[in-house]
């Protein structure tokens, strides 16, 4: 049996794993370098084609007729007009057809929509719903409150219409969209 004992200070315990890790890192770096080298060669091969394409495009650009753009004051006036139009068309939340379509899908059978005031610029609507039972209207109100896109659902007024034989309950509800 050969004698391997010697008097040197014990090597650090992590020396071997560290050396192995460094060798692995060096191997990975060598592989990456080889891959990058291959990429460089590939890009170098593509370069003449790309340069020819660039030259062709530059020639096309040089040959294209030059059209003078509008003057600065005309551009300013155009910008103002566009801003005014954007202001007029600016709406928040849904459009009226979109709101009606959404209400049609969520109104219970026993609830009727009596009136609707849609204010798209303010991002709110005031609707009056009517039903023979307060429970149906309460259910409708809960559906509105559960809608994530609405910021506020407020029961602003509650009343009764009709005579004693055929009384109906009305809820006036204000809704506001999230900005």
């Amino acid at each position: 049996m050969k004698i391997h004992a010697d008097f040197l200070d014990a090597r650090p315990r992590l020396a071997r794993p560290l050396a192995a890790a460094l060798w692995c890192a060096a191997l990975a770096a060598a592989l990456a370098a080889a891959w990058l080298g291959a990429e460089v060669l590939e890009m170098r091969a593509e370069r003449p084609q790309l340069e020819a394409r660039l030259a062709r495009l530059e020639a096309q650009a040089a040959a294209a007729p030059r059209v003078a753009g509008p003057a600065a004051h005309e551009l300013g006036a155009l910008r103002e007009r566009v801003q005014a139009l954007n202001k007029l068309a600016g709406v928040r939340g849904w459009s009226t057809p979109q709101l009606l379509d959404w209400l049609g899908a969520r109104l219970p059978e026993s609830v009727h929509l009596v009136s609707l005031q849609h204010r798209p610029r303010e991002g709110e609507a005031l609707l009056v719903a009517e039903s023979a039972s307060a429970e149906s209207l309460t259910g409708f109100l809960l559906r509105l409150e559960n809608e994530r896109r609405l910021d506020e659902v407020l029961l602003s007024k509650q009343g009764t219409v009709g005579n004693a034989g055929a009384a109906a309950v009305q809820f006036e509800i204000r809704i506001r969209w999230k900005s």
Partner: protein, 241 residues
């Protein structure tokens, strides 16, 4: 060396002389990535093969046990220890241990560092000789007499090539082959007569003095010893590489 090494306490003069000598023999080694094996004189080392009931599992604990046994057997100096388990024999766990003066080990390590050298191993000459000729030596039990310029040693191993006994001494002169052979003969006789020791063959490795030492041993032993010589061309090629 103008100052004797491994005797007493290392002095600054000895450390400086050792550094200078290492620089001289190191040549361009500080600038090369080669494994550097440093050999110690056998006589600077204390040797023992301990027979233990149980072998501690942790290498550090084994080393501490060896240190304790060496210090118990004599010597108050701080010791540097190295040990190696050798398996089991006769129901006992064998632990081969070596010890040297820690102050001299530090001195040597510092001198190596000052000379820009970094040792891969630091072990006695007898271990190097034993490992070098191991395949020839390990075929049966035997003894190896190693001779260096300043010290000699006798290493004995059993049938399974486990070192069981090592005796090392400083040399008294360059012409002490007869005295060395006398002491080797006495040690062999004592080992064999101890009851469980067997020595099938005796080898000698003494570099340029192999023939002189072998002749002295042959005069005293019943069978001629086997001369071991390093392969000079291969050694030179290895050193030149």
């Amino acid at each position: 060396m103008p100052v004797p090494l491994f005797r007493g306490v290392p002095s600054p003069e000895a450390a400086a002389a050792l550094t200078q000598a290492l620089r001289a023999v190191g040549g361009d080694l500080p600038h090369r990535f080669v494994p550097l094996h440093v050999s110690l004189p056998d006589a600077a080392v204390r040797w023992a093969t301990f027979e233990l009931d149980e072998l501690p599992a942790a290498p550090a604990t084994r080393r501490e046990l060896a240190r304790f046994r060496f210090q118990r057997d004599g010597g108050a100096a701080e010791l540097a220890c190295a040990c190696q388990p050798l398996g089991r024999a006769g129901g006992k766990a064998l632990l081969f241990g070596m010890a040297m003066d820690e102050a001299w080990r530090r001195c040597l390590a510092q001198a190596l560092a000052d000379a820009g050298l970094r040792a891969w191993t630091l072990s006695p000459n007898a271990c190097r000789q034993f490992n070098r000729f191991h395949d020839r030596l390990a075929q049966s039990s035997g003894a190896l007499v190693s001779l260096a310029g300043d010290a000699w040693s006798l290493a004995l191993w059993d049938e399974e090539a486990r070192l069981r006994y090592v005796r090392a001494r400083w040399r008294s002169s360059r012409d002490d082959h007869g005295a060395v052979a006398d002491e080797v003969g006495r040690a062999l006789l004592a080992y064999v007569q101890s009851g469980n020791g067997k020595v099938a063959r005796v080898f000698t490795a003494a570099n340029g003095e192999t023939d002189a030492l072998a002749a002295a041993l042959d005069e005293r032993l019943r069978e001629p010893c086997v001369r071991l010589e390093a392969d000079a061309p291969a050694l030179a090629a290895a050193l030149d590489a």
